[in-house]
Symmetry: C2
Subunit: 154 residues, 2 copies
């Protein structure tokens, strides 16, 4: 069963301003009734469809498939009812891990989040100087929640 | 934009009993809040993930992707909260069209439905002697509704 274990941190804005060569991401969320997430994503010039199960601790079941870019565009515009997040992603290697740093725009402008994916919940990693508060367990920072209650409204 | 235009009919049970060489289908529905449908399906030995938009008349936007069979099994068992339909599908050619005849089992046992896919809503087709009432516009017969309110409970 594919699972992702992630830890998530806020980022020093001064560091975020130094980042270059990001990839634009647009992702839409289908309105779902349960704890699952159904997401269509445009990542640069590629399209993806992702299902995620309920988050348990730092772990969540995830199924991701590449789909035609045009399908991703249409799913985001026609099935997601405006539940869309726009951000630019930067990749930064620290020690032996690659961090994903997302600078949000639109209604989440001002939010910068860094994520690291781990093999298991106990795996050690080097904490960069530019991360501040850990927000792994704060559901407000789930992208699926940022689409409902964007950072700009907090 | 991929769209499907379908007409749906009930089937004479005497005819249904003569059908041979069907393909077993198991399909689960993620709980969704809006009018969209997110479905994982096992069709024989293949897995699929399908998104469908809101039905408008006989027409509905549909996006379907083949996914690994094991993923389909897991999505049905872990993300669909028991919202599962089991049926056996038979293909019957009449004139220049292929009909899909679904014999339901489980909580929808007793229901037999035939569907034909058309290029547009005006396309002519030969109506077989073994179809009875048309149910295209009756939402009770949508598979996504049969999972909530199965035929056996009507």
């Amino acid at each position: 069963m594919p699972r992702e274990i992630e830890r998530k941190f806020l980022v020093d804005p001064a560091f975020a301003r130094t980042l270059k060569s990001g990839t634009e991401i647009s992702q839409g969320y289908l309105p779902v009734a349960g704890k699952s997430v159904v997401r269509a994503r445009i990542y640069g010039s590629r399209g993806y469809l992702t299902l995620k199960g309920e988050t348990r601790g730092m772990t969540r079941t995830e199924y991701e498939y590449e789909i035609p870019l045009d399908d991703a565009r249409e799913i985001i515009s026609s099935l997601c009812e405006g539940r869309v997040i726009e951000k630019t992603r930067y990749l930064v290697t620290v020690g032996k891990h690659e961090w994903e740093i997302d600078i949000f725009s639109g209604r989440n402008r001002g939010l910068v989040v860094a994520e690291i994916e781990l093999a298991d919940e106990q795996e050690a990693f080097e904490r960069p100087t530019w991360v501040t508060q850990e927000v792994t367990h704060d559901p407000r920072y789930y992208n699926a929640n940022l689409v409902e209650t964007p950072f700009g409204d907090w």
